[in-house]
């Protein structure tokens, strides 16, 4: 059912000089792909570009046969693409229940109650917080609300911008476990991560960007084993 995401020769920025140039990558249906790279490499920009939040100078982004360049941000959710921004990713004054509900407005799922059940099963922590304003939750719980909201529209592809930023190591593992659970439901995941080593361990493919360009791509295992990658991006220590 799901479709391949293919980014081809993508150049984009914020109106000034391009931040990412000639980026190409593909994400196969149902896999976890992670984008890595040093600070300022254009990782978040790439994600934002896929989500139509930057200005594309050249290139294409396709989901299956559908061209996404030129689509408005608000049109992407109905096409099956959901995004979770890095910070400020919940509606703080809305309750958890309402946050999840808002996720269904752009692309109503066939059976809202069933989807809600499925998502609460993924994030059992949220079950007893449903009436609470999302802004009062802990960082990890907020991340779950944000992911839950994005999943409520039953997307084919979900984009995550550093889902573990600022979380404790315990929560970090939980979030990564959750990502594996989400993948089991057939949803494609493309994420940006700082915790490169853990991310590569769960990822099917990794793409390393340097200075706005493709540097290396490979399977998670390949990258973890690669001498260069280990030295430059994984802090040198053995995997």
């Amino acid at each position: 059912m799901t479709e391949r995401l293919s980014v081809t020769d993508l150049t984009a920025g914020y109106g000034g000089p391009p931040i990412i140039e000639d980026i190409s990558l593909t994400v196969e249906p149902g896999e976890i792909a992670v984008i890595l790279g040093p600070n300022g490499a254009g990782k978040s920009t790439l994600l934002k570009t896929i989500f139509a939040l930057t200005q594309v100078a050249a290139g294409s982004i396709r989901l299956g046969a559908k061209e996404l360049v030129g689509c408005k941000t608000s049109a992407l959710v109905p096409l099956g693409v959901s995004a979770v921004p890095q910070s400020k990713n919940v509606f703080a004054t809305l309750s958890v229940e309402e946050n999840l509900d808002v996720g269904t407005y752009a692309a109503p799922p066939k059976d809202k109650a069933a989807t809600r059940e499925k998502i609460l099963a993924l994030f059992p922590d949220l079950k007893d917080k449903l009436g609470q304003p999302a802004g009062e939750l802990s960082g990890g719980q907020r991340q779950m609300v944000a992911m839950g909201r994005a999943l409520m529209s039953e997307p084919k592809l979900i984009l995550l911008d550093e889902p573990t930023a600022g979380l404790s190591p315990a929560y970090l593992e939980r979030i990564f476990d959750l990502l594996l659970d989400i993948r089991k439901t057939g949803i494609t995941i493309l994420m940006v991560e700082q915790n490169a080593r853990q991310a590569l361990q769960i990822a099917d493919h990794g793409h390393i960007l340097v200075a706005g360009r493709n540097h290396v791509s490979g399977t998670g295992k390949e990258l973890l084993a690669d001498e260069d990658v280990r030295r430059l991006f994984l802090g040198g220590a053995a995997a």
Binding site: Y14, G16, A41, S44, T45
Partner: protein, 322 residues
């Protein structure tokens, strides 16, 4: 006869045009340079008018004073009192988003108006202050004194113009524009934003006070209708927007252009059949309201755009990639 009539029409047009030019220069200091939204121009104008009137009229039992001071001292008093009122508003509101400053300045203008209407001991209430002297009153009598007054008004305009142009190019003015254009960077560069803003607001209000004082001396009579918040405040905004905010010459040109437009249309509308003539001022208001929309959408730079491009800090990179 026709010609002398025209001449004196022109004189009165230019006197009021000059007063509006002052208000426009004052607003340009606040908005054009400082980015501060003052929607209470009429209030500060009114404070200036009453201050100068009370300070310069002969002693009267109808209102406070008068103190019989020379006109220039009256105008200085007008500047000080209007500046003080401005300081009080600025102290409270400058750190908030400009919308709040707009609300607060309208509010203070409203309170000042209430004080002027209600406090008979101070202002003689709705009956107003009369026999306000003109500066250099001995120089000419009758209609010729209008010509003298015209010179006096434009001398003040010139002084304020030179002073504010100096300010604009001074380090102080540059800091101010830097704050206007990019508050965060300016703060990072160690500018005390709040202090700069308060100073700007106070200076602007003081000049508005002087303009108010001049209007009192021109009309020789002052009643609360003079502080009708709408006409004054609104016209000045349209003038500055049309003239080009950030540019002092633009401010003066905008004031003259809009004021001429406003006055000349009156001549036409007065020739309308009587049932329309009474409503003509509403038509003019309507048109000015619409003119502002056109200016905002199509000619935001104004007749004379700001000359130097707005001060920019070194171009920042795109959002850091986190």
């Amino acid at each position: 006869m026709e010609l002398t009539g025209l001449f004196f029409y022109l004189v009165s047009l230019l006197i009021l045009g000059g007063i509006y030019a002052l208000l426009c220069l004052a607003l340009n200091i606040q908005w054009g340079m400082g980015g501060l939204f003052n929607a209470g121009i009429a209030g500060f104008y009114g404070v200036g008018a009453y201050s100068s009137a009370i300070l310069t009229t002969a002693a009267s039992s109808r209102h406070l004073g008068g103190y019989g001071l020379p006109v220039p001292l009256g105008l200085v008093g007008a500047a000080i009192l209007a500046g003080l009122a401005g300081w009080a508003v600025a102290k409270i509101c400058v750190r908030l988003k400009s919308d709040y400053l707009a609300m607060a300045s309208i509010g203070i203008a409203e309170i000042l108006r209430l004080v002027i209407v209600n406090e008979d001991w101070l202002t003689n209430g709705s009956l107003g202050v009369s026999r306000i002297p003109r500066p250099l009153g001995d120089l000419a009598t009758g209609r010729m004194s209008d010509v003298v007054f015209l010179g006096f008004v434009w001398l003040v305009v010139l002084l304020v113009f030179v002073a504010s142009s100096r300010l604009y190019d001074s380090p102080w003015g540059r800091s101010l524009r830097a704050i206007r254009d990019n508050e965060t960077s300016a703060a990072a560069a160690g500018k005390n934003i709040e202090k700069f803003r308060i100073q700007t607001f106070v200076i602007g209000c003081a000049v508005m006070g002087i303009a108010g004082g001049l209007s009192a001396h021109y009309f020789r009579f002052l009643s609360p209708t003079a502080t009708d918040p709408l006409l004054v405040t609104f016209l000045v905004w349209v003038m500055l927007m049309a003239g080009g905010s950030g540019n002092n010459k633009g401010a003066i040109l905008g004031a003259l252009a809009i004021w001429t437009l406003w006055s000349v249309t009156e001549i036409f509308t007065n020739r309308l059949p009587p049932e329309w003539a009474t409503r003509s001022s509403f038509i003019r208001m309507l048109l000015v309201g619409l003119l502002l929309q056109v200016v905002l959408q199509r000619f935001r730079a104004g007749l004379i755009p700001e000359k130097s491009p707005p001060v920019r800090f070194k171009e920042e990179g795109p959002e850091p990639d986190r």
